[in-house]
């Protein structure tokens, strides 16, 4: 029986990983799930398919290598764990064992960005930069917990590897009304339409972007929020369209180093296609090791929290804001 979720409801993204894999295990008899000792969310799959579940213990490199070995033999392996370690300690296994032979290994994990108050060993803040640089790799970052299940389902048909990034994954806001947006790997989602400025974002900061857009709307500024959940391949056509439709004003917001992630991906498209922009601002983690604190505190401290996002959008939409203020209806 289908379970439905309501916009704004809080849901555990990691429980969606577990339930989706358990569901897919039935229809995909070659689906395996592997983890380096982060198996709590995978209990449902483990209990249903113990002979296709492998917990290697604290051994990320072997975990990815074993997954590749399974894939060589015609299986669909999912490696699930904490992304700081899967994306960095096992980076060479991801590159050499998975991407080089283009095997259908899915890397799904939590702790993308400055989440969980773990300190800089436990934040994945370079991961998207690293993954986007790997040939054959598809790179996603998901904010909506329901979408996690949809993306995992879509990934089953892929011939190559995919990286699926989540936040902590314990409590995430449902962002999209069921059926209101087309969700397809490789296509951005216009989460909120607008015409003065485009705010590109992904993953944990989509909810914050929507809040910021709502605040700007009070001032008559129309912000388009694009959930660019697929960073690679990037939806270049949508970027080009946004430039044309939002007066060439771009802000990019992400829970990742501000260079190397989505902002860099968007800037590459802008440069490659010769797109004329009025303004371009990137909000993300500067070149610092971020320290401890709650997620929102850290975003504020490092200049990409809600107030900084609102301020950046105001800067970007300056002329639009003034024009709105000049109109009698706005007085």
């Amino acid at each position: 029986m289908p379970v439905t979720f309501t916009f704004g409801e809080m849901l555990s993204a990691r429980s969606v990983i577990g339930s989706t894999l358990a569901e897919l295990g039935e229809t995909h008899e070659n689906l395996w799930v592997l983890t380096p000792d982060i198996g709590a969310t995978l209990v449902e799959f483990r209990d249903k398919y113990p002979d296709r579940f492998v917990d290697v213990g604290l051994a990320e490199q072997a975990c990815v290598g074993i997954a590749a070995g399974l894939a060589y033999d015609g299986n669909i392996p999912v490696v699930s764990g904490m992304l700081p370690f899967l994306s960095m300690r096992a980076l060479e296994q991801v590159r050499t064992d998975v991407c080089y032979p283009n095997l259908p290994v899915k890397i799904i994990g939590t702790h993308g960005g400055l989440v969980g108050n773990g300190g800089s060993t436990h934040y994945a803040v370079e991961d998207l930069s690293l993954m986007c640089s790997l040939t054959n790799m598809t790179v996603t970052s998901i904010g909506d917990p329901v979408m996690v299940g949809e993306i995992i389902r879509q990934s089953m048909d892929m011939t190559g590897p995919i990286y699926i990034r989540l936040a902590v994954g314990k409590k995430d806001k449902v962002l999209y009304e069921d059926g209101q947006h087309e969700i397809r790997i490789g296509k951005g989602i216009v989460a909120r339409d607008g015409s003065d400025v485009t705010l590109f974002t992904h993953g944990t900061t989509v909810a914050q972007a929507l809040d910021a857009a709502e605040q700007l709307a009070q001032d008559g500024v129309s912000v388009r929020v694009v959930d660019m959940f697929t960073l690679k391949p990037i939806d270049a056509d949508l970027i080009e369209r946004c430039a044309a439709e939002t007066a060439g004003r771009f802000v990019v917001l992400e829970d990742h180093l501000s260079y190397g992630g989505l902002a860099t991906r968007v800037a590459d498209v802008v440069a490659d296609r010769g797109i004329r922009l009025e303004s371009f601002e990137r909000l993300g983690i500067p070149q610092v090791y971020a320290g401890f604190g709650e997620d929102e505190q850290l975003r504020d401290k490092h200049g990409y929290g809600l107030s900084a996002t609102v301020a950046a959008l105001r800067r970007a939409a300056g002329p639009a804001t003034r024009a709105a203020a000049d109109e009698p209806a706005a007085v």
């Binding site: 290697v56 051994a59 070995g69 060589y72 033999d73 299986n75 064992d97």
Partner: protein
């Protein structure tokens, strides 16, 4: 099931296998004599007997049906010995030796320094970076076990390579998953690229390290064909619970006296004159094993 019908190939005597290993070394040297770039000739010569016994005795593979699901899988973890594997496979009928020699290292060739399955589907995995083969083999063995298939997954590692932590992660995984269908051969030639192993890295007591991780350990002279055949014939049933490592005592550069245990010959190429000298040395060394060759006591770095 098909596994029961895939033939092991022509049965060879120990003498015939020894001759095939000699032929493999000759072909290696000839390629090293024609190709101007570097060939990992030292590590190729040290595994020539192991790869001969695998491709002509141990592995159930079919060159005419490379994707036969019942085939044994072979993963060359020490990917820099690719040339030796290509030629061993050519001698079994997988590839044409002339094509290897004619195209090796050239643009669009399927044959290069480290094997790539995308370019050469006859090999099982793309390898080269060290410490990757055993985890891959664990995954393949897990898959075979899950399907109830009886084939083995065999990998060949260099001893220096086992300095990589990922190897020991996989050693633990292989035992934890009770993969009796998993077999690792270790080319224990006691040389790294720039040093003799025990000088810089203390590997000994080497076989005991594998034993401590719960593996079945077989120790052989890696240049004694009778011992290699015996080790393969004594492998436990693939349905058993304990993976096996065959620690092969070898000599880097084996068969060519001026290359043996010589750090200068990790990789290189032979001119026409040196090729003649090398082939003569190879003839002179026929029948010798690792035990016959004294350990190196000096660093002869000059050629």
């Amino acid at each position: 099931m098909t596994g029961a019908t895939l033939d092991i190939g022509e049965r060879h005597s120990v003498g015939e296998l020894t001759d095939l290993a000699y032929e493999l070394r000759r072909k290696l040297l000839e390629l090293c004599g024609t190709y101007e770039g570097a060939v990992h000739i030292g590590g190729d010569l040290s595994v020539a007997d192991i790869l001969t016994v695998l491709f002509h005795h141990g592995l159930r593979v079919d060159p005419d049906d490379i994707a036969n699901p019942a085939r044994d899988r072979f993963v060359l973890s020490k990917g820099h010995a690719a040339v030796c594997m290509y030629i061993a496979m050519a001698m079994r009928g997988f590839f044409a030796y002339d094509e290897i020699v004619d195209t090796y290292g050239q643009l669009d060739s399927a044959y290069g320094m480290h094997p790539c399955k995308v370019q050469l589907p006859g090999v099982e995995a793309s390898t080269g970076s060290l410490g990757h083969g055993l985890p891959l083999a664990v995954g393949m063995a897990l898959s075979a076990r899950h399907r109830g298939e009886k084939h083995r997954v065999v990998t060949l590692l260099g001893d220096g390579e086992t300095g990589e932590g990922s190897v020991w992660e996989a050693v633990m995984a292989g035992r934890s998953q009770k993969l009796g269908n998993l077999v690792a051969f270790v080319d224990r030639n006691r040389q790294l690229m720039t040093s003799f192993a025990e000088e810089r890295v203390m590997f000994e007591p080497y076989p005991d390290k594998w034993r401590a991780f719960g593996w079945n350990v077989i120790e052989v002279d890696g240049h004694d064909m009778a011992q290699l055949v015996d080790a393969i014939d004594r492998l436990p049933d693939p349905d058993s619970d304990v993976p096996t490592v065959v620690v092969c005592e070898t000599v880097k550069g084996k068969g060519v006296d001026f290359m043996e245990r010589n750090l200068a010959w990790h990789a290189g190429s032979l001119g026409a004159e040196d090729l003649t000298r090398a082939l003569a040395a190879l003839d002179a060394s026929r029948g010798t094993t690792a035990a016959d060759i004294a350990p190196a006591d000096t660093h002869e770095e000059a050629r």
